[in-house]
Structure formats: structure tokens, C-alpha cells
Subunit: 286 residues, 2 copies
């Protein structure tokens, strides 16, 4: 009776994606004399942000992707930040731009994101990228939703006609995840903090994407037997949004935390940076 | 036992909106010497499209909005159409641009839409406008979803926590309607042609938006008692996507067809054209 779900090995899949990026980056560097270059922009000294950026730069370096790091003081204004990002958008030596966020509350984050040229938006945060994901058009994906889709594909999850429930509606995670699932012919429900009777909706999910940022917010009792459970949460103490121990007795496939969605996010960032460089250097077909 | 839903009078509300547009257009013309101007672009001679454009121009004229009509042959290429629209985007005498669609299949409709400057996208079709609707940012709404939201507001429908089911996922109707409902704190489900067991999902809808374009596709038996039913369909024979006679015995509020959503679409187009003109002529606060 205590079925145990198969684990979705995000760490393993991410490793294979990064390996492929590494070969592609090397080939590009050899054929054009230019390595892919990711600009990372950090405003202020928030310790978590500092750590994330350092990790992204170190992973890039290992894959043969240069990084150009721009550090700005916490007092940076929107205008200054937009100026710095615009300069990177216009710099032909930079192929991708990552603005580490959240930025300070005094900054108009949306204005800063929109200064990223769509062809360099390898983190998938611009309005253009969101609409492209929503309309099934070519473009960069938000990295975590993009990672979720690659995980689902790696485990041959057929989405057509399935009921996918996305809990969370942020601009870079919940909303684009739902749009990507809809584009793959899932029936998609968005739930959030104002949803009434969340439990009964979650119970209908063939595919559940938890993206609320609340530790063990979703309990196994609410998981439909056989569901695919994607936990995009990452809370204090390495705990996801789903109560893993109870959920794994009901799900057919489940992402662990850590080692599930998390590693996919960086892998997609690197893959999209290489994509961007290939296109800008005239090597890619697309 | 045979409850009868209250009708949502789109024609009446649209009339009041157009009246307000007319005064605003007159005031703008008087204060700036320039009337609001809507450019309408028609490719080919599809009879339905010809009729729609004629109607939009005639309504504009009645409201004191000038129209600049651009007619292009059916053989127009994407490049030519993009060129014509770009010229209108750059013309300071034009405040809003409407590309009548669908355009011919040989034309890249998305490329044509994207040639519309966001500040002139009074029909709400660009990627920028879609993302703005999705993120709750200032911008123009797709006219039909915008009309639906105004109707819901006019009848004081509280959306927070309600389950809104949108049947249909087109880029200008279903998708933006769902995003606007989500932004107003509804729990939102997108259904479409690949949805399994549509009937059981529709039965959960506190607010139902039917936008599939199939006559009487949704039957009253599937309407939750007391639901608010928005019928955005307009099929041959003036028939909506909802079977009105059976639905009205269960819904609390329902839009008739015709006279419900339809008139709201043009009203929003005119209102957004006046908004655009006010902003471009430096009269608006926003």
C-alpha cells in the first residue's frame, strides 16, 4: 500500500545539460574565437544574492562561459541600474544578461528587467520573454519553469489533456510555468494565497507544480494517487513546498529537494547563455 | 425552481462608456486642437473583416474620434505590412492602431502586431500588452477581455478567491482574460480543446468565461447554480458559446448574445483610443 514515487533526478539531468553546454561553448570558442559571455549584475550586498551570483559565475566558468560581473552599491538608483543594463545590452561582447533579484525596494525592478535586450534575456525575465512563453513563440524561458519542462520531458510525462495545477503566481515562476504547461496542452489551474479550498483543487492535479515558497505547504493527503509532483520551493533548511515524506507515498514521480528543480534552474541559464551566444555569433540555426 | 439569471447589459454599459469617450474626445479636441485618431489597417477584402472595420470606423466617428484607414491588397507581404504599421507607429498624428485580423495566412501576423508601438496598441494585441495584463502593469488591454472585466465590475462581481474557468486559450481572448482574472485574485483554470472531462471542470466555475467559438458548446446542466456566466462567443446566427436558455435557469448573472460582451469590445477600443490620445497629447495624468 505504501507506494513510493520514482524520484525525478534534477541533479543528474542538469549535469548532462551542463556537460552539453560545455562542449558547445568549447566548439563556439574554437570556431569564432569568442567564448559565450554572461553578464551578472548584482545590486547591494544581500548575502543570499551574493552567494547565488557567485555560484552562477562559478558554474559558468566551469562550463567555459565567461562572466562579466557588475557590482553596484545598494544606493544605486533605477536610472543608474537601467543605464548599466542598457550598456550591457548594447555591448556585442556580452551574450546574456542576468540581473540578480530581488533588487532593493527603492528600485523599479520591472524597468531594470526591461533594459535587458530580448536576445540577451537568458534568465527569461522580460515582458517579451513572458509573452513568447505564453504564445509558444521562440524566445528564452524563465529558468525555473524551463527547467521544470525539461524535467517533465526527460521523464516522458505526457501533458496533453492532463490537469496541471500550479500553486503560486509569481512573474518568473508560477505564471510562466502555467503558460508553458498550457502551451503543451495541459488544462491549467493557477492557485495562490487567495484561493479558497486549495486542498480540493490540488486533489484534482495530475501534475502539481508547487511554487509558493512555504515549507511543506502541501501535504501528501492532498496529492492525487499517481500524480507527478514538481516541488519548486526551496525554503530554510533545504525544505520544499511539498511534504516530501507523505507525498512520495502517493505520487508516481516526484522531485526531491534539494536535487530536483534547483539544479535545473542554473542548467537552463547556462544552456540559454550558450544558445544566445551561438545566435549572436551567427553559429545557430535558430 | 426555474431561477432566471439577471442579464448583464453589455449594450447599455457600452453605451455609457462610449458617451464618456465622446465627451472626453470633444474636450481633448477643444483643448489641444487635435482629435483622437485611430488608424485602422485592413489587408484584403474578407467580407467579415470589411464589415468589422467599417463598424469600428463608424462608431469612432460618432464618438468624435478620427479614423485613418489603410487598405492593403490581399497580396501584401509581411514586410510591406510591417512597414505600413511602423509608419503609423511613428506618425504623431495617429494615437491608436488597429490591425484587423486574421490577416492572410501568408502573413506573419505576430510580426505585424509587434510593429504596433506599445503606446498605440489600443487593441491590446502586442506581446508587451499581454505581459502588462499578466503582470498587473499599466498598459492597454485586449478589448474583449477588457470589456469582460468592465462588465464584471459594473455588476459588482467580487472575484477574489472565486474559481474562474476560461474555456478557450487564444492570444487575444482566452489567455489575457485568464490573466486579468488572476490579477484580480481569482483562482483561474484554462480549458481548451484538449481538456479532458470539460464538463466536470465547468461545473466548478463560480465565474465562467466561454471563448471557444462553438455554438451552444456549453450547456446549462454544467453551470454551477449561482455562477456568473460570460459568453464571449459569437457564432453564426447570433448564437453564443453557451446554451443561453438552459444556462439562464442556473446562473445568477449571464451575458446575452448579442448585447452582452460584443458591444463592450468596441467600447473598450474607443475608450483606449481616447486614453492613448490623452497621453500622447500630454493631457492625461497616467
Amino acid at each position: 500500500m505504501t507506494q513510493t514515487a520514482r524520484l525525478m533526478d534534477g541533479a543528474g539531468l542538469a549535469g548532462r545539460i551542463v556537460e552539453e553546454c560545455t562542449s558547445r561553448a568549447a566548439a563556439l570558442t574554437e570556431s569564432t574565437g569568442q567564448a559565450p559571455c554572461l553578464a551578472t549584475v548584482l545590486v547591494g550586498e544581500d548575502p543570499a544574492s551574493v552567494t547565488y551570483v557567485r555560484m552562477k559565475r562559478s558554474r559558468s566558468a566551469k562550463a567555459g562561459i565567461l562572466s562579466r560581473h557588475v557590482e553596484l552599491p545598494a544606493t544605486t538608483t533605477t536610472k543608474e541600474l537601467v543605464g548599466a543594463i542598457t550598456a550591457l545590452s548594447e555591448d556585442p561582447a556580452v551574450h546574456g544578461i542576468l540581473l540578480q533579484h530581488p533588487v532593493g525596494e527603492h528600485i523599479d525592478e520591472r524597468a531594470a528587467f526591461e533594459a535587458i535586450a530580448p536576445e540577451k534575456d537568458v534568465d527569461g525575465v522580460t515582458m517579451h520573454s513572458f509573452a513568447a512563453m505564453s504564445f509558444g513563440l521562440p524566445g528564452f524561458q524563465s529558468c525555473t519553469p524551463g527547467g521544470i519542462m525539461r524535467l517533465l520531458d526527460a521523464y516522458d510525462v505526457d501533458l496533453t489533456g492532463k490537469h496541471a495545477v500550479v500553486v503560486g503566481r509569481s512573474a518568473i515562476l508560477g505564471k510562466p510555468a502555467g503558460m508553458l504547461l498550457l502551451d503543451r496542452n495541459a488544462t491549467v489551474t493557477y492557485c495562490h494565497s487567495r484561493t479558497r479550498d486549495l486542498s480540493s483543487i490540488v486533489k484534482e492535479a495530475d501534475v502539481l507544480v508547487a511554487a509558493v515558497g512555504r515549507a511543506r505547504f502541501i501535504h501528501g493527503d492532498d496529492i492525487k494517487p499517481g500524480a507527478v509532483v514538481i516541488d519548486a520551493g526551496y525554503n530554510a533548511g533545504n525544505v520544499g513546498d511539498v511534504d516530501f515524506d507523505s507525498a512520495k507515498t502517493r505520487a508516481s514521480l516526484i522531485t526531491p529537494v534539494p536535487g530536483g528543480v534547483g539544479p535545473m534552474t542554473i542548467a537552463v541559464l547556462l544552456a540559454q547563455t550558450v544558445d544566445a551566444a551561438e545566435r549572436q555569433l551567427g553559429v545557430a540555426e535558430r
